[in-house]
């Protein structure tokens, strides 16, 4: 009896959670000019038209491409930079490794708002404002601390004998890094890459602060504009754009759930 009650409750919770998603999908399929209020069932199949309206009005396609460049580029840069730094702090004989650790890690503890206005001024002064280079640069910097944390934690578990064996072979630091520790930390680096890819993909704050033109603006900033300035297009168009914007993250998340669970446990 108790078991049956629990199962019924679980199904109710699941349906409650799926209800908004269901409504969004149904209404994203509704033709924009037929929309008079939330639909409960598919009455028209205008998803493609809605998407193309959104793409034409707020340049969602360009924004998606921008965001893909920023997410992939900055996650890659951050992971490589973080791996180099982790190698230095954990394996090489640096003085005050704890100081260096905190200097790099501190970036994840501070709220993002604290970086915004100086970055805005500095970007305006150095003509990095509203450029793709500028966006990759800031997203890379934002991604380094957490990637560093993940890779460093992983490298501290590397057996010391590996380093000593490599040194006996006369390998230089760079060879050692490339041949031994880089392959060793591959799993941690993939996890950090995926996590930072998603974090950048989902960013709104830096997108609306450091960019403005459609050629540079990332996806979430374009969606925000669609939701604000172009709300007259009606819910079907906006919801269709939201669905398209979520496909990459949902696919990534569902295919790599295990990695996210591991990375999640380490987020500050």
């Amino acid at each position: 009896m108790a078991r049956r009650l629990r199962n019924a409750l679980l199904v109710a919770v699941a349906l409650l959670w799926l209800l908004p998603t269901y409504l969004v999908v149904v209404n994203a399929f509704t033709a924009a000019d037929e929309y008079v209020g939330p639909r409960w069932w598919f009455t028209s199949f205008a998803l493609a038209e809605n998407i193309s309206t959104a793409f034409a009005t707020a340049d969602i396609g360009q924004a998606m491409w921008n965001t893909f460049l920023y997410s992939a580029g900055s996650a890659l840069i951050a992971v490589v930079v973080a791996a180099l730094a982790s190698f230095a702090v954990v394996i090489m004989p640096v003085r005050r490794p704890v100081l260096w650790f905190w200097l790099i890690y501190a970036g994840t503890l501070l709220p993002l708002q604290v970086f915004l206005s100086p970055l805005f001024n500095a970007y305006a002064a150095t003509s990095l404002y509203d450029t793709q280079y500028g966006m990759v640069l800031i997203y890379s910097a934002l991604a380094v601390p957490f990637a560093f944390f993940v890779v460093r934690n992983y490298l501290t578990t590397a057996p010391k004998e590996m380093r000593e064996a490599a040194q006996l072979d006369g390998a230089g630091w760079f060879t050692m890094f490339l041949r031994i520790h880089l392959p060793l930390a591959r799993g941690a680096m993939v996890a950090a890459f995926l996590f930072q890819f998603l974090a950048t993909w989902n960013d709104l704050l830096f997108g609306i602060t450091l960019s403005t033109s459609p050629n540079v603006r990332p996806l979430m900033a374009a969606l925000a504009e669609l939701n604000g300035q172009y709300s007259g297009l009606g819910p079907p168009v906006i919801l269709a754009a939201g669905l398209v914007a979520s496909i990459p993250t949902v696919v990534l998340f569902l295919s790599f759930q295990r990695f996210f669970v591991n990375a999640l446990r380490l987020t500050p």
């Binding site: 629990r6 199962n7 679980l10 919770v13 699941a14 959670w17 799926l18 908004p20 998603t21 409504l23 209020g37 939330p38 930079v81 973080a82 180099l84 730094a85 230095a88 004989p93 640096v94 260096w100 200097l103 790099i104 970036g107 503890l109 501070l110 709220p111 993002l112 708002q113 604290v114 970086f115 915004l116 206005s117 100086p118 970055l119 805005f120 001024n121 640069l137 910097a141 040194q167 006996l168 006369g170 230089g172 630091w173 890094f177 989902n202 709104l204 704050l205 979430m220 969606l223 925000a224 939701n227 819910p235 919801l239 939201g242 993250t249 949902v250 990534l252 998340f253 446990r265 500050p268």
Partner: protein
């Protein structure tokens, strides 16, 4: 340090280390640490972006008497309490209930799916749901609960509560996963022993399972706490902090003061207050992290 390399001196090794660590330090230093220090510095000035004059602690003194800042502080507090009560508690309950149940997989999938959406997409989706002629009111009408229909986003504090519910929908999945990780780490013998002692249902939960979940709970609470203090995307997209500035959180107040009103010094002071609160809250999590580092 032991003999480092049969060819290199320790000095050479150290300069190599500098080469390895330089890119990370340069990126973080130039784009995060320096801006942070500059924000702290700027909070002691009256600064409209064109001219700057030293005012000492005046910005902070003004904050204490600024109605809209105090409201924003209150809203941030409501968000913190709300996200600790709802997503954390629901995450725990759903994790415990689905851990050993056939229907559990279905429920887990439904709850975790929104976690893959960004804050902005969540906001767009709930903007549709919470409009006066939107999804939630339509559902209420369909259920014959028209009396409960209302303009969810237009009045404070209703809009803050509605936005916390939207966040709950998105964030519960992550907490649930973490609690499941914790649950699966509990040895089966511990639970069996509890059962043999006659504990069942809620007593088993309270006396056997919850104490075992303490370490993971600290992580979940730490993450939720810090995340809720930084709430921005969903409020920015759903109400822009409105009506007026009634539903602003600290992150929005900072943004508006700085970029809408060009009060750079005052905005910086808000950012510093937010930082102090976030660091204090992170302490819960950090203390544990540091201990496990030793």
């Amino acid at each position: 340090m032991v003999a480092v390399n049969n060819r290199a001196t320790p000095w050479a090794a150290r300069s190599w280390a500098a080469v390895f660590i330089a890119p990370a330090v340069a990126l973080v230093g130039a784009l995060l640490v320096l801006p942070f220090l500059f924000t702290v510095y700027r909070s002691f000035f009256s600064d409209d972006g064109l001219s700057r004059s030293w005012v000492g602690l005046d910005n902070y003194a003004t904050l204490v008497t600024d109605e809209s800042f105090l409201r924003s502080l209150l809203n941030t507090g409501i968000w913190t309490v709300g996200t600790l009560l709802l997503p954390v508690l629901l995450g725990l309950l759903i994790a415990v209930a689905t851990n050993s149940s056939g229907w559990g997989r279905f429920t887990r999938f439904a709850v975790v799916l929104p976690y893959a959406l960004s804050g902005s997409v969540t906001a767009i989706l709930w903007n549709f749901m919470l409009q006066t002629d939107g999804g939630v009111n339509a559902i209420l009408g369909l259920l014959g609960l028209s009396a409960l229909e209302q303009p969810w986003l237009l009045e404070w504090p209703t809009n803050t509560f509605a936005m916390i519910l939207a966040t709950t929908w998105q964030a519960t999945g992550a907490n649930m996963i973490l609690f499941l990780v914790g649950l699966q780490a509990i040895p089966t013998e511990t639970i069996e022993a509890g059962r043999l002692d006659g504990a069942g249902g809620f007593r088993l939960l309270r006396e056997v399972i919850l104490p075992q979940l303490k370490p993971i709970s600290i992580v979940v609470i730490g993450i939720s706490l810090v995340g809720s203090l930084k709430t921005f995307d969903i409020v920015w997209l759903l109400t822009r902090g409105g009506p007026g500035t009634a539903s602003e959180t600290l992150a929005l107040t900072m943004y508006r003061q700085t970029f809408t009103l060009s009060r750079y010094g005052y905005g910086a002071a808000v950012a510093v207050v937010l930082t102090v609160i976030v660091l204090a809250a992170s302490w819960i999590y950090l203390r544990r992290q540091l201990r496990s580092d030793d």
